[in-house]
Point group: C2
Chain length 418, copies 2
């Protein structure tokens, strides 16, 4: 057993070393079909572990219908529903495609995605636009209009600026935002503001036409969640090199599709360890309540996977007006997360905790031993298709995922026999 324990410790040390060494740089914004490996036509990527149409939640179905209309595969919501039910469109999860998406997380070929390269390891990660409507299952024309503006105006203008400047390093922005009350998941307001400032001059220098320039600047300077997609892509780009390390018990992905919550573990290959997606404990927008809520959904828990989001809630108490709770509870969450992680980030620090680093590298053993499961900031989607965001709150990763993973780990590495 000691031998195995040493192997695990060494493997986990390597895993967090890789996460901490990540250097995520935004290098492009390009149509998903041109950049995401394996994303073909007549395919929709989605958040969380695999799920088929029959088991798909309302928000996921609504978002898929919206995407089918957006791609021109269907002319109406009804047509879209029939098409998707027919099996003519292939559904695959984002994660195996190096991608992540907020809430339903829909990615189709013509949607421009953020392209983040981890310069330390050369791997790339992709995240779709964060917009707050279609991603929640809203398939209305108003919702799809936001995707079209992104595709036709905002993404091309930002791309021009980005190529002009030769890429944007995200690490300094993330580090700074964490000292400005962001947790980079539900609250990326500082990072979004810093990002907008970083893009203004390059877009002008690149000669973006005045109308598109003003339109795009208005979009990014008023979009307090725009950086969430970059935090997610940076998180995915940072976590991916830590996957596939034999003997490592470190979690490299947590993701939800609204039906199931799933985790992947470094030493356990591509397998998802799942449990039913939990309910979110949160606050609702006027007119909505718990009875309207769908279950936990989205790839955005990749931010917690690398130590942001709920893990640094102590430093982001401004978010409590949105998700509920007290500063004292927030402090307890961040302290608790130290107990289930391997190390603290040398790059990303929390002033309110004396500049302690963010908790990095969730260890499935520690989760099972302590009974403390990861805490995740999240938004709340409606249980039925056709709605925008209805609330926001906190959710706990289900213990079942970690127990299943630990059992599988025991089976694979022989712990069960000792």
């Amino acid at each position: 057993m000691d031998d195995i324990k040493q192997k695990i410790e060494a493997a986990n040390a390597e895993a967090v070393k890789r996460i901490n060494a990540a250097d995520p740089v935004l290098i492009d914004i390009a149509p998903a079909g041109q950049v995401i490996p394996g994303l073909t036509d007549r395919m929709l990527l989605h958040s969380g572990p695999p799920v088929d149409w029959q088991r798909m939640c309302g928000a996921q179905r609504g978002a898929m219908m919206g995407a089918a209309i957006f791609e021109g595969w269907a002319g109406s919501v009804d047509e879209a529903g029939k098409l998707l039910e027919s099996g003519a469109i292939r559904f695959e999860p984002n994660h195996p495609h190096q991608a992540v998406g907020p809430m339903a997380g829909t990615i189709s070929a013509s949607m421009p995605v953020w392209v983040v390269e981890n310069k330390t390891f050369g791997n790339r990660a992709f995240c779709r636009q964060v917009e707050g409507r279609q991603q929640f299952g809203d398939y209305s024309d108003g919702a799809l209009q936001g995707l079209r503006q992104w595709r036709d105006v905002w993404a091309p203008a930002l791309r021009k600026g980005l190529l002009q400047m030769g890429g944007l390093s995200l690490k300094p922005i993330i580090a700074k935002a964490l000292q400005m009350g962001d947790e980079l998941h539900n609250r990326p307001v500082a990072a979004s503001s810093l990002f907008a400032n970083a893009m203004a001059c390059p877009m002008i220098e690149a000669g973006v036409a005045k109308d598109n320039l003003i339109g795009t600047l208005k979009y990014i300077t008023n979009h307090e969640l725009i950086f969430l997609a970059l935090a997610m892509a940076a998180g995915k780009a940072s976590a991916d090199p830590a996957a596939g390390i034999e003997y490592s018990t470190v979690v490299v992905a947590m993701a939800r599709n609204g039906t199931e919550f799933g985790i992947r573990v470094s030493g356990l290959g591509e397998e998802w360890f799942t449990a039913p997606a939990p309910r979110v404990n949160g606050l609702y927008f006027p007119g909505y309540g718990g009875e309207d809520a769908g279950a936990d959904i989205g790839d955005s828990a990749i931010t917690e996977t690398v130590g942001w989001g709920g893990f640094v809630l102590a430093g982001a108490t401004g978010i409590l007006a949105l998700v509920g709770g007290t500063p004292e509870e927030a402090m307890v969450y961040s302290k608790d997360m130290r107990q289930i992680t391997v190390t603290a980030s040398p790059n990303y620090r929390m002033p309110i905790m004396g500049f302690q680093g963010a908790p990095v590298g969730i260890d499935i053993r520690k989760v099972v031993q302590t009974g403390i499961v990861p805490i995740i900031d999240t938004a709340i989607a409606h249980r039925n298709p056709g709605y925008s965001i209805i609330g926001a709150g906190l959710v706990r990763a289900p213990m079942e995922c970690f127990k299943k993973a630990l059992t599988a780990f025991g089976r694979k590495y022989g712990l069960g026999r000792s």
Copy 2:
């Protein structure tokens, strides 16, 4: 005595009601000589209470020399020194001119100043550019070049944008920044970022020429302290209507000239109650130490006067890397400031303290009774002329000012006779 006590309570309630009702809006950026009442040619305004050349500290002298060269009154540092010593230039403090300035706080007629109007009361306040060199006493050509760029390029470009947009409301930016880890004095990084976000589109829409547009955008998107001047002008615009209320023991100005620290009290007219400027307890930039430091200087304590800066340090712990101290100490400071103030702000809140309002309305009675003096964030200037910033830290307002004011209050309102 009870009658007087009631009068004081009522007067103080009125004072903080006025401070809390303030609605500061940036309405212009214009040459000081065109907008500041009573600022004439051959006059230099400075921070703090009145001070003459003989008693002026090194930083103040250096800044004056820089301003004299900037205005073309002198061709060299030597000439400037002789001119200023000769009495040919009139020195007056900023505060009686509705103005404030960071550190030495120099304002001369041709320097563009931020013009903030308090829409609730119609009064205006002015603050000069925050630039970090000349204001610390650096009279080098490099330092003055920053003033010239401000005068010739940045201020005119920003003015165009500002007039295009019809003014910029500061209250929402300040409220938001206080939830983003700013305290708006030493750390206005979020507010500065939000300000740059707000100015980008209007400058483009106003047709600012491309070179000036890019130059100005680069300046404001990289200037983490740019909002300090706006916080100061907003603070001054908010505090001024609270002045001159008979029987009020609320402090309406705290300001330092590097030689003396002075306060003004609502019920005590224009009088300054002064004490020797204290030493700052802080951290120094490489190559400098306590033996190089001048004493406390600047009008920037107007931010603490209205409840920001050191008063909300608990919510701005990112600053501790700059000024020293622990998050626990920061929390104690903010709690302590509640003990010496009349009320909490309904507008400006601290998430880390459960969204408690900033402590507003320093009551000289409470200061003397509790022995707790206001805590102020500040930068450190060199003791000799010719230097830029050398450090930053925390300083306590001298108790002597409050005791003197309370004695004067007793004399004026008859408390001493009871």
